[in-house]
Symmetry: C2
Subunit: 424 residues, 2 copies
């Protein structure tokens, strides 16, 4: 008696899963008791089906052949994107097969529909690999912290962005240059938009928010800001004030509402998240009884991601005859807090002509919108005939700040749009 | 239909579990679907049975009454120590009840016997709270990383020791003084031996070694060194070389043997473990496919520990009718590597009279035992008419170093026993 695994998509992650199952099926059985066995692989590219380790495994160019294979108990969807991944998963669930996926984009946009299909057919839908790669963060949130209400989650969830920000911080280089190198090294996709514009982080943020707040979250409700406008100057100013800039997915359970956003954020240097460097990911969770916990590891890459897929397979095997667990448990629909209602401290960088009265006028506008200033940096050095004015606010509402910045940007001495980042 | 929970021991952790179940049973049911219900509490102290939240729950002064209560599906053993905890757990398992325990000492000394009793009776024995308090480290090692062979684990597993070392590092104070303050603040037990002598860390090390190396590990085979001989001077020398001193449980899978030891260790300042401060715990795991991961949180305290106990209860509930998982899966018995065979770099501190030829003679002895020196610190300042000579070795076998230090300690100019710490 074995647990038959089928893999749709023998690309990077798929071939990693094939490698683990080919090499370690015996040791996994010994360590966990689960008789996992790769029985079928499907890929539209004939070359992908020549992956080493396939041996006697059935190979199909057509995923439907795999989905109708009675020896396949668990379908791993590893092609990514919305279609045809969604159709494959729905068909697998309808056939009563369990599904493991690494597809964060699909979950973010169609989680509730997939969840319903799983429930209707008594099948499992697992997605550990979709967030944090090799870090068992979904398991930790769902099971390890099951006794707790999750109060907040701060996640570094995109290795490419963290690599770029780390290199900018440690090597005095601008984003374009580091990004180009990252692409050459294979750490960043071409085009890099899904990563550097923050969308990949948003998909993961949506999954964490749905899971931790037990509610359906519309991805369109999550404000997203990537890292493309971060300059070396911002990193230096942040450092002068004792902070490091990280792209964070921020999720909070607040007063019956859900706070969910993706933002470059100033993280205090002594915070553990500030020490998470290069392509590593980490998730900082504050929960009701346990207090702060942190989970760190490789958030992407072939083998870490494949390891998470195989962990899900083993988990399904260990559950044996137990009734299927729902991928998400949705309670009543809760509102994602409007951006303008978010509260916190903010970093503001203005680019302005060097003339008298600037700081006074800026502070007046901020004050009119209820934003008060905690500290200020202005150096004598000029940047293309302009100077930077960097302000750190006290606790304030984002709405007031946004309105103030709109007004400030129209002042005659402001030479470039201002921008702001929240502070952790 | 509910899942009946019985608690033996309504002390600190027990009353934390009572609090969570009393306040959160409904929200746990909503979030996880598990109908957990506290039905029985036993404690030898009548006062302990007046804990708030007990309401209609049955209360017994005698644990046997709880063990024979047919409404109790899961027994939580929260009294600690070897007996009567062991008898209670064995009786519960024999009655086919599932058991959740936080008892690391009992697991370290009697794990295999308890494991056999669980298997013989088809019952679960869970122990997430025994290691790392609120950090879901057992779950991460057993399930999250199930696709991997674990290569090594480095754990800061005793909050008291980490608190003391952190305060010594940041406040220029000696151990006795910090310990006294920690005792006053309730962070350290009186007497503190189980913590500061390293035994508590050893118990956890034994559990991790058994789990990660799939073998029975005799606790007597684990070399243990506590922190009592660490001085402020060691901390300063380590810092000059770029290291922080942490008490680590070290487990490694090497060449078919198990390496398991508890040692104050020099951790490089840029390593994440170096940033784990005060009473926090962290476990750094290097695994086959996932690479390095780290898990951080509160390793002790009422609510974090209670949260881990409740997570185990929920997990058993989620498994429903699935067959019980063994607490450990033991493969063939493997040898714990002899201390003398351990390899690595070492920090050595000698206390010697300030006279010519000392360094030459010391280095000759070390060289005769195959130990070569990478760097050296000797300051002009005197300590009670003697000077410290601090040496950092290249990679070496511990056996040679131990023999060399024995010889060095008998040299006439050495005024105090020398000591050494491994380097991570």
């Amino acid at each position: 008696m074995s647990l038959g695994v089928g893999i749709i998509g023998a690309g990077t992650v798929g071939s990693g899963v094939i490698e683990i199952l080919a090499e370690s099926a015996a040791s996994i059985r010994e360590r966990t008791g689960v008789p996992v066995e790769l029985v079928h692989v499907a890929d539209t590219q004939p070359a992908a089906l020549e992956t080493p380790g396939l041996g006697n495994v059935r190979a199909s160019l057509d995923a439907e052949a795999l989905l109708s294979d009675p020896d396949v108990d668990i379908v791993c969807e590893l092609i990514g994107g919305i279609e045809p991944a969604k159709t494959f998963i729905l068909n697998a669930l309808k056939a009563g097969k369990n599904v493991v996926t690494a597809n964060k984009m699909l979950l973010a946009y169609h989680g509730p529909e997939l969840c319903k299909a799983a429930a209707d057919n008594g099948a499992e839908l697992r997605y550990e690999a979709a967030v944090g790669g090799g870090i068992p963060i979904i398991k930790s949130l769902r099971e390890g912290l099951a006794a707790n209400t999750i109060k907040s989650v701060y996640g570094i969830l995109n290795g490419t962005c963290n690599y770029i920000l780390t290199r900018m911080t440690h090597e005095d280089r601008e984003l374009e240059e580091v990004l180009k190198q990252a692409q050459e090294l294979g750490f960043a996709e071409t085009p890099p938009d899904l990563d550097v514009e923050g969308h990949d982080t948003m998909h993961k943020c949506q999954i964490i928010a749905s899971l931790c707040c037990s509610t359906e979250v519309d991805p369109a409700d999550i404000p997203v800001e990537g890292i493309t406008h971060i300059t070396r100057a911002d990193i230096v100013y942040a450092s002068e004030m004792g902070y490091v800039i990280k792209l964070l997915a921020i999720v909070r359970n607040v007063d019956g509402e859900v706070e969910a956003q993706v933002r470059p954020t100033l993280v205090p240097e002594e915070h553990l998240l500030a020490s998470v460097r290069n392509e590593f990911n980490a998730v900082y969770v504050d929960s009701e009884h346990t207090g702060p916990t942190l989970y760190y590891g490789k958030g992407a890459g072939q083998m870490p991601t494949a390891s998470a897929v195989v962990a899900d397979i083993i988990d399904i095997g260990l559950r044996g005859e137990a009734s299927a667990l729902p991928p998400f448990i949705y309670g009543p629909r809760r509102k994602v807090r409007d951006e303008d209602q978010l509260e916190g401290r903010y970093y503001i960088r203005l680019t302005t002509k060097d003339q008298p009265g600037v700081l006074g006028q800026v502070c007046t506008v901020l004050g009119n919108h209820g934003v008060s200033i905690a500290s200020c940096i202005q150096h004598e050095r000029h940047v293309n005939d302009a100077v930077h004015v960097v302000l750190m606010t006290h606790e304030t509402k984002q709405g007031g700040l946004t309105a103030a910045l709109r007004e400030i940007n129209s002042l005659p001495f402001i030479t470039k749009p201002s921008h702001r980042m929240p502070v952790l």
